[in-house]
Symmetry: C2
Subunit: 422 residues, 2 copies
């Protein structure tokens, strides 16, 4: 009965019954390809479609801090300061008085290193657990570089650490090519692995229920109602842990690295732009122009619905009015950055240009996916993504090979050896 | 092949394969009822769940402009000014230079009135069509009150006007109990019917494809990326039409009414708070405390997912930090308001108190759903909605009878006769 009422309520509140009654069917078969872009069918060229009008509004408002390449080193430094200040304004990190210090909860031996479970307390009523992997022989007399490891969508700190369980006592080793933190500790670095909010240990009831997903969106929605955002929260709790890393004598706080995989590259960029003390960055995803992706992925499905590239855990209101991801990576110059999974050549030459302007041309390294490594496989002169593409076409033009999206240890580890021993 | 790649990409980018591999099943059956609220299982009472932490953050931040009832008439006037200024800040209406005047497109005779199709041009490249229903005998020498009619979710201006088609030439009459504008014109008022953005004529491709829905959310998402919102856009395009109404000599601009059904009550409240020249308001929905609804509807489903009351077309970042719907209705005092579909007695006594403070106790009228009209059917002393309810329970405690959600002409028309002829 209750369910019956709920469904009735949903139908009424969604009013689809009403709209169904009003649908003016087109009669003939709908061909999505014929409507891949927004085209006015009016003599005056104006648009009636709200979605087309919003699309045009976004077109008319390019990011204020887009990296143009038309800067000398002084102008570049001023622009970078603006990027930092703007990121700080957008991330809205709270200032918590008398925040409790992180505490060590447990420590376990592994082959060649120990794994520690810590808790941070970013809010008086909140606990954010994280894992610390410390190579044997590393201590305050023999400090090592420290690497903050941020997972991708659906990944956890345990996956990054090569563990099978949150309960480290009963956990066993789970080697995967995404075990970023375990790769790092084996290299002799201290690896600090965190969860992304609302997934893994900080989830709500998803593990308890046995549901195979993570509810990022409802958590993000609650933060957005509070005028905050998922990335604002994620970058804040990550920053609390990064600031703790700076105080640990067995980590070299002049050699702190942030390493992000996929979804984890977003907090990497937010923290990176705000915190000049970070030494280097591992960006393990394709270099994506999110705004361009939203503006060009307009191919509708059979029902006439155009997609949006991602869910609201990626939404920071106003963010794309200020900058896009390549601009933020450019603003990390002159600090060492490696991008491991390609992107558009246009964006890489722009970032390379920024590093030259910052006087550190060698500090930026980028690799394409193997299938796009050969220039002949890429449209190296593609300057603007065409409108009306679907996801697969966008990925192809952005030189992305989705099935081979994983932590590129083969590129990252040699690069880290080089920059951390120079 | 392209589809195959897309699905593979989606799976990888969503990473559920990864998470599945890590799920720690609870073994025993998950019982949603045992997890209806957020409870810490830690001795220190702290929370690890991100969702619980966000929930607590919202609990700790009640709306700044909540109507407390502890105001004298001077304080009330100052508070109302703050509500108006805050709503103006949140709605972010653009200022368009040299906006083109609305144009009459066509006019058709109906029984006892004529229906006109107009176009407004709220942006240089944008067209927002609307319908104007004018009773026979109404002209500049015999002006009538004008009522702006805003539809509910999935409804259109044609439905409100009792028309079957956007093409008025081939349209026929479609009497329904939701034909708000047709009820009004039959009463001798000028009715102006608008669409909500992204539904009906301003949709994207949904009617063309024959899809029975409206994509509010992707349109809302694009606006949110631009630091705007669905309600900001909707209230702006509605306000452009309302301002046009003020200039039409056959409408009494001292007797302009805004009438909103369901979803349409949101632009009603936004415009109402911002524009003191509106004479009266027809609020045809239950009086909903959106923030309380988000905080109490925490009953998870079998997969452990707690719902969110609505989609992002209802999201205005920061809105609920300032006020909730009953506060805004209270701020409409002393202008006449009728609420037609109940709500919590707590909220009605609060609004009644506001109208008393404003010196107009008789200007606020409210009706409950028939099934809750008898006080014995309501918990009149319910002061706080309990946490952990599902939608059906929330509706029951808020005295909502979803199957009977329709335009309450039986309450509205007599009330309008009274206030418009006094």
């Amino acid at each position: 009965m209750r369910i019956a009422i709920t469904i009735a309520a949903m139908m009424l509140w969604c009013g689809q019954n009403t709209l169904h009654a009003q649908q003016e069917m087109s009669g003939h078969e709908f061909d999505p390809g014929k409507h891949a872009t927004f085209v006015s069918d009016r003599p005056d060229g104006k648009f009636v479609s709200s979605r087309a009008i919003a699309h045009n509004l976004m077109q008319q408002h390019p990011p204020r801090l887009q990296y143009t390449g038309k800067m000398d080193s002084a102008q570049f430094a001023a622009w970078r300061e603006d990027v930092a200040a703007t990121m700080t304004r957008l991330m809205k990190h709270p200032v918590i008085k008398d925040m409790a210090e992180p505490r060590l909860i447990e420590s376990h031996k592994r082959d060649g290193y120990r794994i520690e479970r810590w808790e941070s307390y970013p809010f008086p009523d909140a606990v954010v657990p994280y894992l610390v992997l410390i190579p044997d022989g590393v201590d305050k007399s023999h400090p090592a570089p420290g690497i903050l490891c941020i997972p991708g969508w659906g990944q956890t700190k345990e996956l990054l650490s090569g563990e099978t369980s949150i309960d480290l006592g009963s956990s066993s080793i789970n080697e995967t090519n995404n075990a970023m933190a375990r790769y790092y500790v084996k290299e002799g670095y201290v690896a600090v692995a965190v969860d992304n909010p609302a997934c893994g240990e900080p989830d709500d009831l998803e593990r308890l229920s046995g549901y195979g997903g993570a509810e990022y969106a409802t958590f993000a929605r609650q933060l957005l109602e509070l005028d905050w955002s998922y990335l604002g929260y994620a970058s804040y709790v990550d920053k609390v842990i990064l600031d703790w890393m700076k105080t640990q004598p067995y980590m070299r706080n002049d050699r702190l690295v942030v390493s992000g995989f996929s979804f984890g590259t977003e907090p990497l960029m937010a923290i990176g732009a705000m915190d000049p003390t970070i030494f280097a960055f591992v960006y393990n995803d394709f270099l994506c122009t999110t705004r361009e992706r939203a503006l060009t992925m307009t191919m509708p499905d059979k029902r006439g619905r155009r997609p949006w590239p991602n869910d609201i855990s990626h939404l920071i209101p106003g963010f794309l009015c200020e900058f896009d991801f390549p601009d933020i990576v450019a603003a990390l110059a002159p600090r060492p950055v490696i991008c491991t999974e390609g992107g558009m050549d246009r964006d890489f030459s722009s970032v390379h240009h920024a590093f030259q302007t910052a006087g550190a041309p060698a500090a930026f390294t980028s690799h394409h996916y193997a299938m796009y490594a050969d220039e002949s496989k890429r449209d190296v002169n593609l300057n603007k993504m065409p409108e009306g593409v679907d996801l697969a076409t966008f990925f192809r033009l952005a030189n992305v090979d989705p099935p081979h999206h994983y932590f590129k240890s083969e590129h990252v580890l040699p690069w880290l050896r080089k920059i951390l021993t120079e």
